[in-house]
């Protein structure tokens, strides 16, 4: 039982960067923009979040900076695609390349200008982001360890995802956003400011991706900066958008599943040792588990395209630039 609890606990943690990235990308796509720059925005958020945390020693400020950086990167994307009508795929890819280079470039500068060549977060900072037990709730057997003894960024990711879900589903502004994503011409005709709505949502989404990057550099890195720390997690987040069928609430579940795939790479053998009937897990190569997120996403694509339900599909105008004079 302990093995399972520890596995799920680790899976929740591994899924958190995906959850941030996916929630951000869902907001972006719901407003009709396909921003493939999640990886790049996460990288930029990772670096700036780390640097702010390193310099100011303030967790709140580090998160704000990471959010702001992601939003600025997304603003560039919005300017290019919404105002200048650039191809969204190309712009997103450029943003990914740029973000990776940005974090490596400034990451090296940071290492260079740190006296001992080792930028490391202060102990109190690391402590502030370490796991803590919520009183009483964490005493519940199993569930307490599993759900109520995480670091604050884990809870924040779930709160953000739930807020985004409520925003998209139950608020007037969410309705506006969705209508722009489905049919911008109709939204425009009904008097909505399509450009403004797109800008705001792209930037909000980018900011949330930036938070995911901050999680990677502040928590996963253990307090030391690593160049190349995001390492593909942004791309898995993009795949997870499809898996979660464009719902932030489902993304919470989806990120747990993808986190489980990640942890299975490392812990499959623990199951094989603990439970004899799972012995076969020990013989599956780790490459198989690395493949799973993408294989499952492909499977979900096939299933949803067969079912032909309108709900849970990609927004109809996603990836297509809206050009008013073409109406």
């Amino acid at each position: 039982m302990n093995t399972i609890i520890k596995f799920l606990f680790a899976a929740i943690k591994a899924g958190v960067p995906f959850l941030y990235g996916t929630t951000g990308e869902i907001i972006t796509q719901k407003s009709g923009s396909l921003n493939l720059g999640v990886e790049g925005m996460m990288y930029m958020g990772a670096f700036v979040g780390f640097y702010a945390g390193f310099k100011t020693n303030n967790i709140f400020l580090a998160l704000i900076c990471a959010f702001f950086t992601g939003a600025v990167a997304a603003f560039v994307f919005a300017f290019l695609t919404v105002t200048l009508q650039a191809n969204q795929n190309v712009t997103g890819l450029a943003l990914t390349i740029f973000g990776g280079g940005f974090s490596t470039f400034f990451g090296e500068m940071m290492i260079k200008f740190t006296p001992n060549g080792l930028p490391k977060l202060s102990e109190e900072f690391i402590k502030g982001l370490s796991e803590f037990k919520i009183p009483f709730l964490s005493d519940i057997p199993y569930i307490g360890k599993l759900l109520f003894s995480h670091n604050i960024l884990v809870y924040l990711s779930i709160i953000v995802a739930l807020l985004c879900w409520v925003y998209l589903r139950f608020t007037k502004y969410g309705l506006h956003t969705r209508s722009v994503g489905e049919n911008p011409a109709a939204a425009d005709a009904s008097g909505l400011n399509v450009t403004l709505i797109k800008y705001l949502n792209i930037m909000l989404g980018g900011g949330i991706c930036g938070l995911g990057g901050a999680y990677v550099s502040l928590v996963n890195g253990g307090g030391v900066w690593n160049n190349g720390c995001v390492n593909g997690q942004g791309w898995i987040s993009v795949a997870l958008v499809i898996f979660a069928s464009w719902s932030p609430a489902k993304a919470i579940f989806g990120s747990l599943v993808f986190g489980m795939f990640t942890e299975l790479q490392i812990r499959a053998n623990d199951f094989a040792h603990e439970f004899p009937f799972l012995g076969f897990l020990g013989h599956i190569p780790t490459a198989f588990y690395k493949m799973l997120p993408f294989a499952i996403t492909a499977l979900v694509l096939v299933v949803t395209s067969i079912s032909q339900k309108r709900e849970g599909n990609q927004p109809a105008a996603c990836g297509i630039n809206y050009y008013r004079e073409e109406r």
Partner: protein, 412 residues
């Protein structure tokens, strides 16, 4: 909307992003190392080794790195410190060293391009620091007979202009195993490996470490988990966490980042790093790390290439005796008396009484004095690799043929 303007902006975005990607590796590295090497540099630069410069002002050295030395720790950093040491020892200027960074070693085309760029820029000797460059370098050595190709960690060579260099890192790994075996209280030691038994370098390192553990702590087990990558900060951290969850209280590693040591530190337990002294990264956790002094080789090889004595140089497999490999200074976290144990074991290895992969083992008394005893080398399936008292495995087997785990190792 003006399409031309759009194309222009798109193009400039691409160019700027490429610029960030392209210039990030090269420029900061040199300055970085100069800054970090300030302490050692001052002494050495005052030495009067400037005569060499005049004769060899146009002698260029190429270095192919798999990663980025400016990470400040880990594999590429350790190599580059060696290059910097060589540069200082021989008095070369910065533009005599051509570095190619982030060259994926499973990408033969990228490797070839990087090496050919070095040759075009006039490099007379090229160091390839990663395993996967081997076949490409062998091929190019045939094409460019006037250039010397020196490949690290592999096993191929051609006796003319292509050699390989590596070190007996298993010797300091044995020593770090002693530190871990003395420190552990749960008698479970975790080991984050980059690869499984398909890689003899990693597997042999685990075996040497485990044998060191067994010498001082026969009850301890070494739990191994594999990340499947030389460099993956996230996976290395989570793998270490998985080992901690199994109850391990010392985390050793054969992978590139400091993530396993930081995971150990944040969990309040201990660890043995690799490649560089990771005590500065994880001061509360780190015991000692097997480290490389690549400068010993780079200096000797470059000097031989400059002076035209390369022909006699041959392959290189240096050990503790010449200081090519070592353990980093023991930190305060080490168990009491660790220094005596390690000094005794080091002496036995340097004197040639004990060679790690032989039918012998060190036996320590209470004071940490070592005596060599006969003991068969067994794998964890009970097979006998070397009979009691038998001779050490051959170098070819150590570098390319170890695919078994020592008796106290469990793959998890």
């Amino acid at each position: 909307m003006n399409k031309k303007l759009l194309a222009l902006i798109l193009a400039s975005v691409m160019v700027i992003s490429m610029m960030f990607v392209a210039c990030s590796p090269e420029t900061p590295v040199d300055d970085n190392n100069v800054v970090e090497d300030g302490q050692n540099g001052e002494n050495e630069q005052t030495d009067d080794n400037n005569q060499e410069v005049v004769n060899n002002a146009d002698f260029k050295v190429g270095v192919i790195h798999i990663g980025n030395p400016s990470d400040g720790a880990g594999y590429s950093y350790a190599h580059d410190q060696g290059i910097v040491a060589m540069q200082q020892n021989l008095g070369l200027t910065d533009d005599q060293i051509i570095r190619k960074l982030n060259i994926a070693d499973d990408d033969a085309n990228a490797t070839k391009t990087a090496i050919e760029e070095c040759i075009e820029e006039g490099c007379k000797i090229i160091f390839g620091t990663s395993w996967g460059y081997m076949n490409t370098m062998e091929e190019l050595a045939g094409q460019y007979p006037e250039v010397i190709f020196s490949h690290g960690t592999g096993y191929k060579s051609n006796d003319v202009n292509f050699n390989n260099y590596f070190g007996r890192i298993y010797q300091p790994r044995y020593l770090s195993g002693i530190a871990a075996g003395l420190k552990t209280q749960s008698n479970l030691i975790g080991y984050v490996g980059a690869w499984g038994t398909e890689n003899a370098e990693v597997t042999g390192g685990i075996d040497a470490f485990a044998k060191g553990v067994a010498a001082v702590n026969p009850d301890a087990k070494v739990y191994v988990k594999v990340t499947g990558s030389w460099f993956d900060p996230t996976a290395e951290g989570t793998t270490a966490q998985a080992l901690l969850d199994l109850g391990c209280d010392v985390i050793a590693q054969h992978c590139d980042t400091t993530a396993p040591q930081l995971a150990a530190e944040n969990a309040g337990v201990w660890g043995c790093g690799y490649n560089t002294d990771m005590t500065k990264d994880a001061p509360k956790a780190h015991l000692t790390a097997p480290i490389w002094n690549w400068g010993v080789y780079y200096t000797a090889a470059t000097e031989a290439a400059m002076n035209g004595t390369w022909k006699e140089f041959g392959n290189f497999f240096g050990g503790l005796d010449i200081g090519f490999v070592d353990v980093s200074p023991l930190s305060e976290n080490c168990a009491e008396g660790t220094d005596k144990y390690i000094a005794a074991a080091r002496q036995a290895i340097v004197d040639g009484e004990f060679a790690v992969f032989d039918g012998k083992q060190l036996s320590f008394d209470e004071e940490g004095n070592a005596t060599v005893i006969d003991e068969a080398l067994l794998d964890n399936q009970g097979n006998e690799i070397v009979a009691a008292g038998g001779a050490c495995l051959e170098d070819g087997v150590i570098t390319g043929g170890i695919n078994w785990y020592y008796e106290n190792v469990e793959l998890k």
